[in-house]
Chain length 347, copies 4
């Protein structure tokens, strides 16, 4: 197929396999024999590196396979049977996890959001509404807050926002958990001031996304305080989330946290996304939800959409009005300068 | 490290990465861009090959990540909310899945077994006990039978046994499901007369194990009748079992079902296990549960155990009496003739 | 205690025991010996009378103990494991059942409401949003609609509204279920044109409330088509909702459906509520949510609230603004003309 | 119907309504207005009396409706999500609760029993098997022991047996819970040396049965240490087990614990059962499971069964052999001397 006619793919950030460095490590170690279930030396090494990156020397780190699985398992582990999880209405757990949280017996208590973000005030209001209701013993008790960094819409929480939400949670005796499915892309953008040590410090649990950030699969859950959840290993097993050949996740995270690969992966995606943003502005496109990470939203009329989609695969977000739609361009660790140049030329 | 001092590993059949042919394919396809969630061409190709191998052209085939996850998801998908699953007391779902079946709300209804196998009579007795009990409306209704082929103890069901259990299930309007975590090792042994088409014909669902049979991870669930479970995709997602980069499983199974690789993997393990069996007999060892697949059980006194374990990693099964224990030697696709020769020399 | 100082109680409609006619029947039959679990002649007779009142000769009728229990059990029985229930945001199942629906594994899919009521358009919109979403296989599938008649706010659905919602449900292959915790009070009000036969005809399941309508406890679930839910008895047992001395519910419903007692109970409450409404209007009070059933909502300033509450127990609904609150006056089968006269004198 | 031909009923101990003293109290209080959900003065009074009877002044006492519901709610409240409950294979929760425990996500871990009773050794063995298994992190952790007093077969635990089981539980950090569905009949028999204060002292939770011991319905759960389960009220609501008119249970237990009524109820049943036992012995009948409470088991040939059942309703237990069956005679608070005389005459 000639280069000119080759289709471009910007629909999502998980269309390839893994970063070549990861493939290399998997290949090199392939015939080694190790124990299973994450007790192998590679998983241990990955844990140590993540603890160091998080400046959380006591942290308990577990590797799970995918995002929905991780959310369901961690939320179930943190909540009492009678508690629910507070989330933005647009939160992944509320909309796109096929009821995995409810399958575990817990209600998602939705609160208002703006561009995917909730506020400390919103959380506080939700808690106050619960506690001041005379019938709160007949209601689902909020037991934790779920955020994602970045959010579904690529927006990010600032450190002061995170600290404020953390304060509200802890003053009210509930947990704070951050879904970092695309964390690399938050960490790498210039606007971000929330570091891994900040997450470890202000959250009770969070996960460092692998699947959407360069791994074949895998998410690294971090509990800063290792005593937060006893028997987490068994809970993971009970949720069908325990990988027999656990080292597959360990090797991947060990690689991601060696020589700054996780940072590099994020940086590439941001650099590429920012070129797209600049081009869109220059060409007079209307952008959808403004955000600094690897997802660029643009609002186009139907004719433009049809024209673009002939040559580029984009994600459809929603119909804006009778004649316009919102589309998404996602960049990743795998996006090349050549891809971007070709995309921009088409815009 | 000199050969003499290098430790031997026979503790389990999932201590390595993947068969080199699989690694090769993953590497070759690594930078291709495909859609996620198993809708990619590799997964489609793998499904087609599995359907053909099973002579089940209509079959619905899904790829999940691990065994416990697969069992929990399939059992939950097949049962009504008020039904339970009939299993050998020693069944994996009853003992070693951390309550994953009960987490989904279902009781495991245990029946007697011999060397891990149940009988058609045992199943029939269980069903009859239920239906003839005046209080059966207050009891958990048996909704399906769970078998594994091979069983936890390496034993296998003959075709006539499988047919008989299948007949009892279907005459009683309940499902039959077979856990094939180590299916390659059953298919490859000479004593076996149950083929993939037999499984597709006599079971409502079964899975072809990848994790323990040469893949990095992955299990292929086959529902011969695609209408058996509507919305299985959503059920998989709800269980946190849907792989975002679904092609990782697709590529692996596509490779396993190309040029007879799945057969070859099984055959290597059986050839090696049979050499061990012959050596044990020749050297006068007492074997534990006799079986024709890739797990060899031996009963040794404590001194022998201590001596062997200095140089070989074996799995501890159980204490037999004050002075004897049962150990397991597991072979796999990755076991080499050299490993076996060294092991036999040590026995 | 002198009449002048005796406190008045209008906080709810379940503050007494049972209608005297029910107590009388329980007493008369107390020493009779019958089989348990609702298989006794009194339960059979009650079922027959309910079937007749509903003009649904084939209907399956079961007696449960309370409302939350009934909702959780029926919803669980009607939904597939991967489905959720569509409800008004203010629906009892969404707010005041402590997560009982999620405990059974199902998401409550909330839609907009006005004064507690949803519309056929609202339901249709929710279904369309689901089906047109490219990712709906990753989402919770709407499997039924939950209404209450009357609603939490005393409002009622008209027959044309019910028919329209029923049409939308059935054209989309989902169930319609009506929570009739206070059904007597809807049936009895002049504005109502939805009869028991209408409910049986247009809903797949509904329940006739006992607890809030004159019984000690008990709710009668009606499935017009007895084949809708196989093994409902076992599902009830599994939910801990099966009454050992089932005839206690049977006798109560048999009495309620003898000589028009259920109608009479509703009528008394409505007559009393309407007198309160007229008096509130005459005295210039602002009413909260206007509705024709047994709950009267009034908005008062703090001073008035304080004054009233010295002598009358009212239910606090919510703070309207800095100086006003919404309170509820609930009448019941047990409200006497004397109570009402005294209340009106105090207003 | 003449007395001679009137059928006798000995099939179970819950065939009537309630003890007349309870009916009287319900009638007297019927029109009083109280708050709901067990917060009324009658429930408070009943709680105080039960605390006193148990010599457990701090105990948390809640009233639920039925036995299966109580077991499911208490077990769910006591266990962590990854734990299971240890029970005799014959335990009610394992056999006759339609999977209510598994519905809550927990496995019933069965151990051997004799005549319905387990032993401290049996419990200890089960715990040891778990902890010594190298794979116990992949297994369901025992989190509590479930006993019933009396058992399904009318047998009772002695104080020394209870103390020993309690010791094993608490040394292993797990809970002990006793199902007292028929507790009155254990407390009243001469052989019994386990008092209510003993139960309060040696168990973490137990329930005092109402339904089978003279109430219309109702079971009183006692947690000696009120801090054992936070938010139990909400857990009860979530399980659909919260009675709106909570005082109905309160009044019944208040009456049962006034003037020794609960004792008297038990004593009547035991006195009657013992007369049956003596008559059976005298007439040469073979008794089934020997026990001192209100259930008498007898083994009869088919002809005798047919003859007896013409005039007496007995419960069928099981077929013993080709020609014999085991039947049950249950006495209760309601059994009269005349009933017993007529029964004995028929034997």
């Amino acid at each position: 197929m000639s280069e000119r006619t080759e289709r471009l793919y910007f629909a999502s950030d998980y269309m390839e396999g893994a970063h070549p460095a990861i493939m290399q490590r998997l290949l090199e170690t392939n015939l080694e024999k190790t124990v299973g279930y994450g007790l192998d030396p590679y998983s241990e090494s990955a844990r140590a590196k993540i603890r160091e990156a998080c400046q959380a020397p006591e942290a308990m780190v577990h590797f799970l396979v995918g995002g929905t699985q991780t959310n369901a398992t961690v939320i179930d582990a943190l909540l009492k049977s009678y508690q629910g999880v507070v989330s933005a209405r647009t939160g992944h757990i509320n909309v796109h996890e096929a009821g995995a949280i409810e399958f575990g017996g817990h209600k998602v208590l939705t609160i208002a959001e703006k561009d995917g973000k909730v506020t400390a005030e919103g959380v506080e209001h939700c808690l106050m509404e619960y506690w001041k209701d005379d019938n709160h013993d007949h209601m689902v008790m909020p037991g934790m807050v779920y955020l994602s960094q970045p959010t579904e819409y690529g927006t990010i929480y600032s450190l002061s926002e995170l600290k404020e939400i953390s304060r509200v949670c802890h003053e009210n005796g509930i947990y704070l958990y951050v879904d970092g499915a695309r964390l690399a892309y938050a960490l790498a953008c210039q606007e971000n001031d929330v570091t891994l040590p900040d997450l470890a410090r202000y959250c009770d649990a969070f996960y460092i996304g692998g699947t959407k950030c360069g791994a074949l699969f895998g998410e690294a859950v971090v509990f800063s305080n290792p005593k937060t959840v006893p028997q987490f290993f068994t809970i993971v097993k009970q949720h069908g989330a325990l990988l027999a050949k656990g080292r597959m996740a360990g090797i991947q995270f060990d690689t991601l946290f060696t020589d700054g690969l996780y940072d590099e992966i994020g940086e590439n995606a941001i650099r590429m996304a920012n070129q797209v943003r600049a081009a869109l502005r220059a060409k007079g496109y209307e952008q959808g939800i403004e955000n600094p990470t690897n997802q660029v939203f643009l609002i186009v009329d139907d004719a433009t959409q049809a024209r673009l989609c002939e040559q580029v695969e984009l994600a459809f977000m929603e119909r804006v009005d009778d004649r316009h739609v919102m589309m998404r361009i996602a960049t990743s660790w795998a996006t090349t300068q050549e891809d971007i140049d070709r995309l921009i030329a088409l815009l």
